[in-house]
Symmetry: C2
Subunit: 339 residues, 2 copies
């Protein structure tokens, strides 16, 4: 960390005046520097051609540091992944902070370092940004918005209307790790756990998948807030098809399963940050799966079910003991501020 002449963020750092200027000059611009950000304009000039995708997310996770990651890294991964789920390769990100007065500059710096490192690993550039400060008690440490843009992969054609009866439903990794890691540090709920968030950038593995399987990948979505159950309910609503899954096939770490039981949570509704649900053409499912299992992001991948004509608009799960139940949308809130 460079030497700052202040220890905490104050309202003046959001004034647009000298303190803002100093915070940006001595911190943000320097660590995140690249040719586009260096223009220091309020907007960034980019070169893009052909079809692109754009995605935005505001990250309000609490706490801002959690086992395995922090809000800065999450804010890069999350938006990169949302674009990957559209078949687009994130190239440029914007970065906007809403900081609560009193945030230690050391925490801000750690977050910036994580942003920088995550952006480098994902191969994206932070091209412009914004910093606002709100009074103590009008925010919660730091909120981050990232908005990303990037070209759509030439072989990608990912849309819920491409989902067909018979498609295999694939889950790329163990579910619920992110949510449980965050809950283990949540105020008033702390428990001993060595479960780490699964947050990671999925753009590289998706790029490889698209290159190899192209149009046979019909749909992709990362089951973040609301978990796997919400993704499946959303596509069930949009497509009118039935979605059948088997509980025993869903990848789930024993420790996470135990924590969910302890907390009274259904892992199907718990947030994830480093896995995706794919719906792929039936006849490539096994080849797709073995491809995925050879990638670090997909080593626990499994076919968890299939798209059916029965029970239209509904998600049905066969439980471990053999019964069937409807998996509904999450009603109310289970884990607020998980991303």
């Amino acid at each position: 960390m460079p030497k700052f002449d202040f220890d905490i963020i104050t309202l003046g750092h959001g004034s647009g005046g000298l303190l803002t200027h100093r915070l940006l000059e001595s911190g943000v611009f320097d660590i995140l520097k690249n040719d586009i950000l260096n223009q220091q304009h309020d907007g960034a000039l980019l070169d893009l051609s052909g079809p692109v995708a754009m995605s935005t997310d505001s990250y309000v996770i609490s706490p801002i540091f959690f086992p395995g990651s922090n809000i800065g890294e999450l804010a890069v991964h999350g938006t990169v992944n949302d674009l990957a789920m559209c078949g687009a390769m994130a190239r440029y990100l914007t970065l906007s902070f809403i900081i609560e007065e009193g945030l230690p500059i050391e925490d801000f710096w750690k977050i910036l370092v994580s942003v920088k490192e995550a952006a480098a690993r994902a191969g994206v550039q932070i091209v412009t940004g914004d910093t606002k400060v709100v009074e103590k008690g009008k925010g919660d440490g730091i909120f981050i918005n990232t908005t990303g843009i990037g070209p759509v992969h030439p072989k990608a054609c990912i849309h819920h209307n491409r989902i067909e009866t018979g498609d295999a439903i694939i889950c790329s990794g163990q579910i619920a790790n992110h949510g449980i890691s965050v809950m283990s540090k949540r105020k008033g709920l702390e428990f001993e756990s060595d479960i780490l968030s699964d947050t990671t950038n999925l753009n590289h593995v998706v790029e490889k998948m698209l290159r190899q399987f192209g149009m046979d990948i019909h749909f992709l979505r990362d089951p973040t807030r609301g978990g796997v159950a919400s993704v499946l309910n959303e596509v069930a609503g949009l497509t009118g098809k039935g979605y059948f899954i088997e509980q025993k096939k869903i990848p789930l770490d024993e420790r996470v399963e135990g924590a969910c039981e302890m907390l009274g949570l259904d892992p199907l509704y718990v947030a994830n940050e480093g896995i995706f649900i794919a719906m792929v053409k039936k006849n490539i499912a096994m080849e797709f799966l073995s491809f995925l299992r050879n990638e670090p992001e997909g080593s626990h991948a499994a076919v968890i079910g299939e798209v059916v004509d029965d029970h239209p608009h509904k998600v049905i799960m066969k439980s471990i003991i053999g019964g069937k139940r409807v998996v509904t949308y999450l009603t109310g809130e289970q884990l607020p501020r998980i991303c």
Copy 2:
């Protein structure tokens, strides 16, 4: 407003589950609908070619409703204008909400309506978004991030390194109206005033200016947070040139001047949302000014000074009574949360 089955926003509306789905279905998607948003993907597929500009801003203004406008309209104008200041014509916007639990749905709806109307007037589409909810006391009503993208005008070449000695410094309208209108409603500071925020979209007038004057427009910037003084100090720092302005030439409404005196504020540091500072080639300055004065956005425009070789890196103002003083960066905060 449609009939909602709830009166206030709750944490469940940010869960990613059924309540989020209902809030989006019955409210956001319906009012903002367009072909791209209707895809209801986490990202939007866009068609862009050639050089584009991208800009982001988080809006944390307090109060969220103020004379003449509200945070929703402001969030559209602000980002559209940041792009216009890069010579780019905003085409697509993302829209991301961080809502404090307990926000009346009626307020949220009013904001959405303003977003829709402002986007229509500016000719931009809201293409994707995000909705988060934080607990009471961890936010302040609503914060909004908008990120915009659009093609750079073919005749635009706007950059601080194009500023030349002799350039005229033009202010497109009366200063400080926005800041004073917001302060008149600020908790603990309310005063009687009929001053309205100047917030408006500047993209249409900038497009016309670029068509007519092209490369002779060297630099544009909207003096929002930190006001005119901050913009001039920023370019003074970046270019190393001197910036000389005359107080008597700066457009200022008498009532705003009076309010500033009462509040002990220097209008040069007060935020604006519907004006811009332009640096243009000396020999077109008068023609540019008369063009601008014929536009509704520029009816009070004036040449307020010029770029000089004297006093490098410094902004100097000749006061009404004839003395000269250095106009420095705002130190500390004068008007927090003004945008």
